[in-house]
Structures are given as C-alpha cells and as structure tokens.
Symmetry: C2
Subunit: 301 residues, 2 copies
C-alpha cells in the first residue's frame, strides 16, 4: 500500500464542508451508482452523474468533479478508468465500487489523484446500510481525508473493512469465486440432468429449501456480474484446481467403496473449521425455523 | 412398486387400537430412534427398543414386535436388516428410517412381512414435526393399513411424500449428493488453502454469512452419515461426472478469457430454473434480513 501521507502538495478535500465538494458518478444510472448517489446527496453533497443517456458525458463529469466515483460494470471498469485517467488532476479523489480491487486500483493509480478502492459487500437494492460491510483500500490519500471519508461511510451504519487490493482479491476468491462458482455448477447440473425444481421441493427438508433459495437468488441476478467476479479474479485457477482435486478423490473413494477415507476427510475439514461449526449450527437453526415458516406460507397448492 | 393390496392372508394391523400393537425399534437409543420412540409412545403404542446396551437384543425384539422399525446408521442398515429378516413373520410390518431407500427396502422385501420404507427429511433433533416432510415408500402393505399409518404420521403435522424407492434415491442424488458433496468440497478447499474463516467473515456480506452458516452446520454433524449418503447413492457417479464437466468448462473459459460463454451458460441455467428464481429471491431476501440481525448480535469483538 502506498503511504497515505504521500503527496503533500495534494489539495485537501474538505469533507466537513460537503457544499464545496462536487461528486461525479460515472455510471450513476445503474443500481449501485444510484444507491451511492442517494448516499452522497443525503450527506449534503452536490452529485452529478454520467451514463449512456445523460446530458453530461464521462469526460466533462471527470473534469468538473472533486470526487470521481466509478460505478460501472466490473468487466468494463478498467477500460473506463484507463480512458478517463489522462483527464484527472492531482487535487481530485478517485473511488470505484467494483467487486475486484487490484486491477481497478492499479488503473486509478496511473493518475496523480488520491485513490481509494471500494467494494460494497451488498447489492444495489439494499434498503439500509446498517450492518452492511464496505471493503476499502485507501491506497493513496491523506490520512485526514481518509479518516473523514471513512467516518462519512460509518455514519450511515456501514462497517468499513480496510485491506490492500491484494488481500481483498484473495479473500474474494473464497467469498465470491468458491461460493458462487459452486452455486453456478449446481445450477448447471440441475439443468443438464433436467431436474424439476418444484418436484425436488416436495421432498423439502428446510436445509435444502434454504440452499435452493440461495441458488435461485444468484440466478435471479446479473449474468455478466457473476461471469466477471468468477472469471476475472486472478486466484480463480487455484480454486478450480482445488475443486478438481476434491472431485477426483470423491470419485476414487466411490469406486473403491471407501467410506472411511471420505469420513476422515470430512473430519479433517470440520477440524479446520473448528469453533465456527458450533456457532454456524446455532445460527442456522434459528434461520431454519424461519425457513419452515416461509415454506408453509409459500407452499404451492 | 409392488401392489399394496397383495397378500390377502396378511394379518391386518389395527392402528386404531394402539394398545394392541407393539412397536420395536432396532437402534432405538440413537437420536432418530429416540425421536420416533417418543412419537409412537405419545400416540399410545407400547414401544420397546434394542441397541448396544439394552436388555433386549435385536433378535428378541424383532420376534416379539408387531411393527419393527430399523433406526440404525445408514452404512449399517442393510446388514442389520439382512441378519434379522429370517426371523420376520408375514403378520408383521417392517419400517426403516434411512436416507436411501432402494437397498434397505429391497432387503426388507426378502421377508414376507408388510414393508414401508421411510426417510424423515429432518434431523433427530427437531423440536416439532409440524411442517417437516417424511418421504415414504409403501411398497408392500394393505391399503387400509397404509392409510391409517399415513394418517398417524400426518396427525403430528408431518407432510408425507409418497414415492418409489427408485424415485426417492434419484431425488436424493440431487437433494443430498449434489448439495452436500459441493458443501463438503468447499469445506475441503477452505482447509487446503488454509483459509481463516473468521477473517473471511470480517468481509461479511449477509449472503456469504448465510452460506457459511449452512456449510458450518453440515460439518457440525456426523461424518459417517454424510459419507454414507454421498457415497452409497447409486446415482453419485452421474453427479460427479456433471460437476467435473462444469469445472472443465469454467477452466477453459477462464484460460480463453471467454466471459461471454460463462454468462451464456449462467443464463441457460437461470432459464431452466425459471419462475423459481424470483420466488427464491423474495424468500431469501426475508431470510437475509434475519441474517443481518444475527450477524450484529453474534459479532465477535
């Protein structure tokens, strides 16, 4: 991480006087852009946006804003930043909202502006920021400015989790790639085996219904986003490799009718997860009570 | 499925007069056996059990009970049934409670007794049967007796889902093998990559926390049970094959930086899931509101 105090000749942003700070959101008509537009407006900032059909284009917006926030789809982010960076001045602050951090932050650092990479760990449709997490990489920004910006986010109830872009992307290879990719695999298998979801739900265990709810939720969302977060993470090959290794072992143990090896492997994983299993069991039991109620309410005739 | 009305010389079980019907539970000291012991006792039946340290042994129990319920671990069930079947008379009813149905039912049919295979789609620790599902394969039983037995289960709030043993095991290759095996794979990857779970939770999105709760819940449970339901299902190789195919494609698309194919594949799966996605999105949104609250309450210092 670059020193936060570097660049002493950088103009200090006055977060304490929002009326003097103009925020420009590139991609401000999208769901996440609109959410952060409301956030900054409610905090008293003047916000303008550019998007496909806006009076302002990206270039004018970037030139005329103190804070520039990139809120464009992940697979386009780096290209959009690269195109606009030559227009950026040293006294500006660049932020982005994408699900990976190393490549977008690297692109923003090609300017001489202050740079903070952000990743909201929530969707653009949330009703409240309370209890939601914002991952933040304050890679080049005055300490005072970062403290103020962080306080601004926290004032809405968000939790700010600081990390380097590299730490972030490694974490996301677990949180996003491992979990989303296996979910997408499951969706694919259901399709390839032509499984009737509603028929399977007649055998509902609450746990299965809960897992299907999570699966269905993913597939109710944007294909490009899920393609990008799974396929643009630099650590994806490690995850695929490990998944292949696991499948290879399961296949071998099945062929050899070796239940003991399977159970031992299960135990080793449980040991790695440690205390978490008990906490998860308790928390999921409360959740499953709700699932049973929802299943009753939403039962098909 | 064998005709339910076959065997006219079979003594009819009088479910209407529970005091005349003795229930014997093989493995009655286990969690699921104990749950069904309470169930039958509360319905007025006399229940006796055999288990490792009980005064009655399995053979005496089987000889002296009108209804015999096998409640032993899945990987032992077929062996236990085979050993006891030579003692079984035509006027008895055999039930079992295991997570697969074809093999145990086949073993019970080697007797001349009435046979109903059961699979409770819930754990032995549930507080109530209300809203829980019981899969049932009434393969050889008088219609009247089956109607009465079914009504008995339903009187507790259970939903009874009838199916053949083959339909059941195919369904379970999705509900259990696909979903549990991918969860076990994820646990394995977390272990192999030495991921600190509590560190990942600092980046919590509610969805990730929910998925981790489900994962941790599985690993808080019995390794032998999960080994058996994953590795004894005859359809497991189909599931493993499909999962391997998916991983192979993801790997290829990553290497070729082919986000479009990935997104198109995602869309096809979403199309197969159809209306379910919207329902799942709505149901999971309610669940995630609860997860945010639980996360706040259970936050580590």
């Amino acid at each position: 991480m670059e020193s936060k105090t570097a660049g002493g000749d950088r103009t200090e942003l006055e977060f304490g006087r929002p009326e003097d700070v103009s925020v420009g959101i590139v991609g401000g008509a999208g769901e996440m852009g609109a959410l952060f537009r409301r956030f900054f407006e409610e905090a008293g900032y003047t916000v303008r946006i550019s998007d496909r059909d806006t009076p302002l284009d990206n270039r004018e917006l970037v030139k005329s804003s103190s804070i520039v926030l990139f809120a464009v789809p992940l697979h386009l982010t780096v290209d959009v930043i690269r195109e606009l960076v030559p227009l950026v001045r040293e006294d500006q602050l660049l932020l982005d909202l994408t699900s990976l951090k190393a490549a977008p932050v690297e692109a923003m650092l090609q300017s001489r502006a202050s740079v903070v990479g952000l990743h909201p760990m929530f969707g653009g449709g949330v009703k409240s920021f309370a209890g939601q997490t914002l991952a933040a990489c304050p890679v080049r920004i005055e300490d005072k400015a970062w403290r103020e910006l962080r306080a601004l986010f926290e004032s809405s109830g968000m939790r700010v989790k600081e990390c380097t872009p590299e730490q972030h992307d490694r974490m996301m290879s677990i949180i996003q790639v491992l979990f989303h990719m296996t979910t997408m695999m499951m969706g694919r298998v259901l399709r390839e085996l032509d499984v009737d979801i509603f028929e399977t739900l007649e055998y509902t265990s609450p746990s299965y219904r809960l897992e299907m709810d999570i699966l269905g939720r993913i597939f109710a969302q944007n294909p490009s986003l899920y393609a990008a977060i799974s396929q643009l993470n630099p650590h994806t090959p490690d995850i695929v490799e490990e998944l292949k290794k696991a499948l290879g072992l399961y296949e071998k143990w099945f062929r050899e009718e070796d239940l003991d090896s399977f159970a031992r492997d299960f135990e080793e994983s449980a040991r790695h997860l440690g205390d978490f299993c008990k906490e998860a069991y308790e928390e999921s039991s409360i959740i499953l009570d709700l699932v049973v109620k929802l299943a009753e309410r939403n039962r098909r005739p």
